[in-house]
Symmetry: C2
């Protein structure tokens, strides 16, 4: 049985990447060692981390005044690092678009010397849309404006990045990094857990503009962006194997034609599923049309029992991890870059069959 993995993260990885990593797993490029066994100070690993950075810079068109960091701790650690590094004794603005935004807001609020202001929220409507952010909402004295560009659980995404004037935008891009047409120059900081669109869990990518380093005194060296920047992400031992897999994923994306090409594929995959939902008489999208994500697509029948039946039959048919997050219910298909189009086609066919068998029009 072909298995299609719709997991929201850790998520499906490109088959060619897995196959290459497998083939050289015990002997990396004739070194006689696994990548996991390489010293992080070795010339082998030096070449890996430099190449990973270079490729990510090329893929995302990251200007020279931005640093690329490979850190640990996931987006959750960034929720504290961002305000500690940028907003001590200042105000920080947040847009609340879902569970992860709320966690970011909560972590900032725990810091005594950071004034947190939530300038917009869609919580009153179960986060089913992205609120409008207009320039007049942005206090120009704020340290930053934090947004979650894509909301993994509810399936919304910023279609355009707000104009925040001179206030840097800090973005949690965990679930749509490398699957958007945003412009890096519109951000002060971009951060992303790797386990959705980059590689294995345990790696966090941070892209930070040079002028945002060293603004506040940070009392924990491992939480200080400046220290990691000056050490080229080698302040301590980095997650070497995860960085190697990320390097292979970046290369795979470049070989495919880069972001414009993968974005086209992502949009086609999403369109297939959204079209199926639109024409269905039993499935609907809970998300407002103008706010829909192309990477995380929830859908529901409106009938808990029917959702449950669908999820059980889908799982039995090889559709893994389709069950929606408990806070939304129903189903959710995460269609990251590595998710194959055939998987969407197969899901759509399965949905049509299910609909016929279960009283659909």
């Amino acid at each position: 049985m072909t298995v299609y993995n719709f997991s929201a993260g850790p998520a499906v990885l490109p088959t060619p990447v897995l196959e290459q990593a497998q083939s050289e797993f015990t002997d990396y490029q004739g070194s006689g060692m696994s990548v996991m066994e390489l010293s992080h100070r070795s010339s082998f690993f030096d070449a890996i981390i430099k190449d990973a950075k270079k490729r990510l810079r090329e893929l995302m068109n990251i200007p020279d005044n931005y640093h690329i960091l490979f850190l640990q701790g996931g987006a959750s650690l960034q929720f504290s690092m961002v305000p500690l590094n940028l907003a001590q004794n200042k105000k920080a603005l947040y847009v609340n678009t879902g569970s992860w935004s709320k966690k970011a807001i909560g972590a900032a609020k725990m810091l005594d010397n950071v004034a947190v202001e939530v300038i917009a929220s869609s919580e009153e409507d179960n986060f089913t849309y992205i609120p409008d952010i207009t320039p007049d909402m942005i206090d120009q004295d704020a340290a930053y404006l934090h947004i979650t560009t894509n909301n993994t659980i509810v399936g919304t995404a910023f279609q355009t990045i707000p104009d925040a004037g001179k206030v840097p935008i800090v973005a949690d891009m965990s679930s749509n990094i490398l699957a958007n047409d945003y412009n890096v120059e519109d951000f002060g900081i971009i951060y992303a857990g790797a386990q959705k669109n980059i590689g294995p869990a345990g790696l966090t990518v941070v892209i930070i503009r040079d002028d945002l380093l060293g603004l506040c005194e940070v009392n924990e060296p491992m939480l200080d962006y400046k220290i990691h920047t000056e050490a080229n992400s080698l302040y301590n031992t980095p997650p070497t194997f995860a960085i190697y897999i990320a390097q292979l994923v970046f290369k795979w994306l470049q070989d495919l034609g880069g972001l414009p090409e993968i974005l086209k594929q992502d949009q086609e995959k999403a369109q297939l599923l959204y079209d199926a939902i639109e024409k269905s008489s039993i499935f609907t999208s809970p998300v407002r049309q103008d706010s829909r994500s192309i990477t995380n697509i929830p859908f529901v029948t409106g009938d808990e029992e029917l959702d449950k039946k669908f999820n059980a039959e889908a799982l039995a048919a090889g559709f893994e991890n389709l069950k929606g997050h408990r806070s939304v219910g129903g189903m959710r298909a995460s269609l990251y870059n590595a998710f194959p189009k055939e998987g969407v086609t197969a899901l759509v066919a399965f949905m049509e069959k299910f609909e016929k068998e279960n009283g659909g029009a």
Copy 2:
């Protein structure tokens, strides 16, 4: 050419572990998915993390009132987490036995409300021995006594754990965890970066006694042991693949006969090398006899040019990463659990040959 990897970390891993991980790299136990692609909330991964914990508990005889955490950030993040969780508005005692102790001391000193006291140091003698710690040196009001049980760079190790009375001992055990006969009950907290004796870089194992949780308010959720304990290390996405490799390493150790057996092997390997150094007329150990580590063994000729020649010839002969740390010079052999005895025998033979060719007696 057979390659022997003497790296101090990331370090050599057991061949059977690498082979098993390679064989199921793209299809874990018939799931159709790589371990890296498994959701951390899946039943597959749940079984992995539970089994890893269970095996580590068995291997180290960890009592029930200790929690096992799988975290990120390395020992370096622990340097801040330990004082934040245990010593705010209190005194913290440290023994300074090398570069990593100094980093731990430095990180604690950065916290305004922690009073750091270094109660003993071997710095005046280049850290070539472990200072004696006697009960009268321990202020019984201190939050903890921090020691580095094994010093990777200088090659010293605590042969016995000091008696600190009721003050909990916090140990950075990164380079000799699972390669000692310490008693877990003698510690309040044990922490270790995985990349030496456990698995790949990017995983930190923390073993913490129940009564040490929740003592201080920690303003960064990801730095709070209590949060990670209550979430069973799943507060956010953990480094899933690294935990899986650790599980395989723990199983490998148990299959070998557990810690008593591996410790016997480690001692034999170390003895082989120390004997060769003792009987050599050109190599010496810079470490005082009663303080020597069995996992990290530095040796020098006393002649920088000769060290350089040895390192170049050794590297050409397949002895990888033998070069000593720049702060000590000379050579260093890291003989972690996965390092094969044949590698030590081969090194000793190579040393004898080199000695004959280079004016040895």
